[in-house]
């Protein structure tokens, strides 16, 4: 039997808060003050913040895995060192974000256990495969690029410990991003084979990155309490548009083709027998002068929900590897905790 601390951490909008304190809290948020761990805060603020930080921490930890498997195969000493450092940074981000979450009330161990038994989620984007070295380049350029956009907006949030963590994380993300940019540039100035490899990897990551920012905004989100309390500071669609405006023209200039899902006349997404998408040039991708933005085709949101529910290409592998690491390392933690924490599972 496993106990999950997540069970009693729920948002409850019917909850009664002390009116006067709530008003004072809202006023502080309006003045742009940062809330600290010691401060009084509405329960839904604490839970909302915890959920966001925990999800973010989970994503950093799982995000280390797709690139982690390329450490042993990085093609030069510099790339090898940079990749180890990059993956190590992501683990460090996870550590810092779990610390923030722990101080909001959930033990780290409970968070790790919820993660590896699929009770909590992590970012969808890490459920996609990285089958070639060029995927490492694509991830560091596009996924870390998307993460920076997201994290820059989160650094404008209202919770002090999270905001400070975002600032430190972003410093390191800047390195991840430049390293990715450098790899993409190198491959796109390389041999025909390297260019092809890069294009294929770009195809695999462009649409997952569009989904990275989450589903299209519902009206309720923009005015909801998370925006009001500045737990979130930008909407999904705003960030997605920013991403396209920055990366689409850069990719085109590099000679990359930007593709979308092939759909039939009714708009139904066409797929290969193995379920993978069939890519076709995104005809909607061009600047819209009057709106000062780039037009683009929406990704397949059905796929997004399938992946969220655990049906993505690699959900099982990612969670499985994290669980392997947890179970494999349990004896070390038992030893340092200085107290028995139960017998190891016999498959260890």
């Amino acid at each position: 039997m496993s106990v999950s601390a997540g069970d009693n951490i729920k948002l409850d909008w019917d909850r009664q808060e002390d009116e006067a304190r709530l008003e004072e809290f809202d006023a502080r948020i309006d003045r742009g003050e940062l809330i600290e761990a010691d401060d009084w805060m509405p329960e839904n603020y604490r839970v909302g913040m915890l959920r966001m930080a925990e999800h973010h921490a989970n994503s950093e930890i799982v995000g280390a895995l797709p690139e982690g498997e390329w450490i042993t195969r990085a093609p030069s000493l510099k790339r090898k060192l940079a990749l180890i450092a990059k993956v190590q940074d992501e683990v460090g981000h996870g550590q810092m974000l779990y610390r923030v979450s722990q101080d909001l009330g959930k033990p780290r161990d409970a968070m790790l256990r919820d993660l590896i038994t699929a009770k909590t989620k992590y970012h969808n984007v890490f459920n996609y495969p990285a089958p070639t070295w060029a995927d490492v380049a694509a991830i560091q350029w596009l996924v870390d690029g998307a993460a920076i956009m997201n994290q820059k907006s989160l650094a404008d949030g209202s919770y002090g410990p999270y905001v400070r963590t975002m600032k430190r994380i972003n410093m390191e993300e800047a390195f991840h991003f430049k390293s990715g940019e450098d790899m993409v540039l190198t491959l796109m100035s390389g041999t025909p084979r390297q260019k092809k490899m890069m294009q294929e990897a770009f195809d695999r990551w462009w649409n997952p990155c569009l989904m990275f920012f989450g589903p299209p905004d519902k009206e309720s989100v923009k005015t909801g309490p998370f925006m009001r309390w500045r737990i979130k500071t930008a909407t999904n669609d705003t960030l997605r548009q920013k991403f396209v405006d920055r990366f689409a023209p850069a990719a085109l200039d590099l000679g990359l083709k930007v593709k979308t899902y092939q759909r039939d006349a009714q708009g139904v997404v066409q797929r290969n027998p193995d379920g993978s998408a069939i890519w076709t040039i995104d005809e909607a991708l061009h600047p819209i002068e009057s709106e000062k933005r780039w037009g683009f085709s929406q990704p397949d949101w059905d796929e997004f929900y399938t992946v969220i529910r655990g049906g993505g290409p690699l959900n099982r592998e990612r969670v499985g590897l994290r669980r392997f690491s947890y179970e494999q390392g349990a004896w070390v933690r038992r030893a340092v905790l200085g107290r028995p924490t139960g017998a190891p599972p016999n498959r260890n």
Partner: protein, 130 residues
Amino acid sequence: MGLSKVRDNIPYYSDDLSTPAEGDLRTYEVFVQTERGKPHTYCGSVDAADDEMALMFAREHFGRDQECVQVWVAPRDAVIRTDYDKDLVFRLTDQSYRFAKGYNVGMKWREFREQRDYDEYKKEDLREHF
């Protein structure tokens, strides 16, 4: 050629964990000094079993990849703090009397000295503390 045997054969279990919750290690606050002579600044926290482990973790996590000459760790519960709401820290009443800028001597000097002499005299003032 694929990955090492282990990575290629990770099993997937969907059942709950059979081990009970482990609980967390002790939290330590970490401070780093980027240069000799500069103040130590708070930079985050680590969880560790004891002081020795905390120092090792803090060094590798916060000390190695940016300039750092010393790392301090302290158990969180050894850091005694005031309460934001209950404890007043900064005095709220007028305390201009305890700041240099609270004394407007320039006007008064004018009665006694030429501006030039006063300016010369003023050069040695600790301007940054006004």
